[in-house]
């Protein structure tokens, strides 16, 4: 393998790790860790396998058919059901744009103590600037590389000197911690799935495959990125849960802010750790802002058959550019109302979990179409994992709203 190719693989994998963690993950992992320790780590393990399975499938389908996920959804689900999927996905992803943008602003606030609302327009300007100046690939890799600062959470877990036996025992216990209810336990399981298997990740991955011009020749690159990047992202998620558990659980602290997610790192590694964690949070939310923003443009453009793409000049994809800009402006306006971005994140990831079956089903159907996919059609392992993930996603989608109401968004 040439050095250039190896470098491309490494960067792609780094992007996948950085791209896995966004504001939803940060909030959900720290919240869950503080309240349930590692008792929901099995959900993260499942979510990683599920998103790996569907990201690989979507990448393979895009490489073979040169058609992205939302375009396939319309073809397979029919225009009406696909419109429902589009509307839901658009709403949830637009809310996430607002939350991610606020996440950038909150990271800057933590670094400077200037109120985050003052940083929101600056963050939006930075996003526009990066999109305008950097090519797609470099943009993806820049935030992927910076997002590696999040590995400080793994180091922090080590430095906190955990009782490994207790952590492992905790991870093996499939029950809520004493004092917590079963409905709350399941609500947070749904929330973790919503945060770690967001449909936008798959839509973005498949649209990115089209933007990169991937063909079946790039299958190894797709698989390396997915099979190494996502599990390492999952490891990061578990490290955030473990760090929050070790620092917050013994003294009864509940997580309500992004700032609290950085505190265990500071406790373990001091000021240097805190600064690295802030850089990581900035990079993770910045990358996720770009991904969610493009995902809204991709979704709507692919559904209606418009020209789209970050690689095109704005004038050649005018409607795509208008949609993404409009979403960004709406997100800034919503953030400036002062609405709590963490609350928005919690609701967005729970609603996102309700849309998973509509996102997964068309990809599974197309990946099984031998006439279309030929030798790249699903094998038995992909089918078994894909079907299991789809079935679980249906259970999650059906139970998400009742659990949200019953537990008052996880309060009880």
């Amino acid at each position: 393998m040439s050095t250039k190719k190896l470098f491309a693989f490494t960067l792609g994998t780094l992007s996948a790790i950085g791209g896995f963690i966004d504001i939803g993950d940060l909030v959900a992992d720290a919240l869950v860790g503080a309240r349930f320790g590692l008792r929901l780590a099995w959900v993260t393990a499942f979510a990683v396998v599920g998103i790996m399975c569907y990201a690989e499938m979507a990448g393979r389908v895009a490489a073979r058919t040169e058609r992205p996920a939302m375009s396939l959804a319309r073809a397979r689900l029919g225009p009406r059901l696909a419109l429902l999927s589009l509307a839901g996905s658009l709403l949830v992803t637009a809310l996430l744009v607002m939350a991610e943008l606020s996440g950038i602003a909150l990271a800057l606030q933590l670094a400077t103590s200037i109120h985050y609302l003052a940083w929101v327009p600056v963050a939006a300007f930075l996003v526009v600037l990066v999109v305008k100046v950097l090519p797609f690939e470099q943009m993806e890799r820049l935030y992927g590389m910076l997002g590696l600062a999040m590995l400080v959470y793994v180091v922090a877990v080590w430095a906190l000197g955990p009782d490994w036996g207790r952590l492992i025992e905790d991870a093996r216990t499939l029950a809520p911690t004493p004092g917590e209810s079963w409905p709350a336990y399941f609500f947070y399981a749904v929330m973790l799935i919503g945060a770690q298997m967001t449909p936008y990740e798959m839509f973005f991955f498949s649209s990115g495959a089209i933007e990169h011009g991937w063909s079946p020749k790039n299958l190894t690159e797709i698989r390396v990125n997915v099979f190494i990047g996502f599990p390492l992202g999952g490891l990061l998620a578990i490290a955030i849960q473990a760090a929050a558990f070790m620092v917050f659980s013994p003294i009864g602290i509940q997580v309500e802010h992004i700032s609290q997610t950085a505190l265990p790192v500071a406790v373990a590694l001091g000021k240097v750790g805190l600064v690295v964690a802030i850089v990581g949070i900035f990079a993770a939310t910045f990358g996720a802002t770009l991904e969610t923003l493009f995902a809204t443009g991709y979704d709507i453009a692919q559904y209606f058959g418009w020209s789209y793409g970050e690689l095109q000049a704005p004038v050649r994809a005018a409607r795509f550019t208008t949609v993404t800009l409009a979403v960004l402006i709406a997100a800034v306006a919503l953030a400036l109302t002062g609405i709590n971005p963490i609350t928005v994140t919690i609701y967005a990831v729970v609603f996102s979990s309700m849309l998973l079956p509509l996102a997964f089903l068309p990809v599974l159907l197309v990946a099984n179409d031998r006439a279309l996919m030929g030798d790249l059609a699903n094998g038995p392992v992909s089918n078994a994992l894909g079907t299991l993930t789809l079935l679980v996603s249906v259970v999650v989608a059906v139970s998400a709203f009742p659990l949200l109401v019953l537990t008052k968004a996880g309060a009880f």
Binding site: A266, L274, Y308, A317, F412
Partner: protein
């Protein structure tokens, strides 16, 4: 990417479709109302009180932990100021939400108790926030020690209430 042909065409929703959508919307709105409805029964009020007190204890402990880490030189002053701002706002909002509920008969004493302990916590965090913004770190250390007593009082109250 170039435009692709669209699969199928959209037709307007049927009458049945509108009915299903209306029923679904009504269920969602009713559920959301249930989620935000104030506690009516004494048991629900007690549970809300327990939740409020444990949340406030958590907010106070968060402020104490940031201040202690700052005193140990482990966190930056900017981050400590931000964390204390957030803790004060959270504690005030949490207390305001609970005291905004009308107590059911026989639960006025509980409202008074939570209000007293909660106000002490908000005041304590407020003083810590001022000390941090004035960069009066000696005063912040002193207030952090006092806050630990307030946390103990809140925890004691939380233990006697359901969650």
């Amino acid at each position: 990417m170039t435009a692709r042909p669209r699969a199928g065409t959209l037709t307007g929703p049927t009458r049945r479709g509108w009915t299903v959508a209306t029923v679904l919307l009504a269920v969602v709105l009713a559920s959301l109302w249930f989620g935000h409805a104030p506690p009516r029964s004494p048991a629900a009020y007690d549970r809300e009180a327990g939740h409020t007190v444990s949340l406030m204890a958590s907010q106070l402990r968060t402020g104490v932990l940031w201040s202690r880490e700052h005193a140990a030189g482990e966190v930056t002053s900017a981050a400590t100021e931000v964390a204390l701002d957030e803790a004060v706002d959270d504690a005030r909002n949490t207390l305001d939400r609970f005291t905004g509920y009308l107590p059911p008969p026989g639960r006025h004493f509980l409202r008074t108790r939570v209000s007293e302990e909660g106000s002490a916590a908000v005041e304590q965090l407020g003083l810590m926030r001022i000390a941090a913004h004035e960069h009066d770190w000696a005063r912040l250390r002193e207030l952090t020690r006092q806050a630990e007593d307030t946390t103990t009082a809140l925890s004691g109250l939380a233990e006697g209430l359901p969650r």
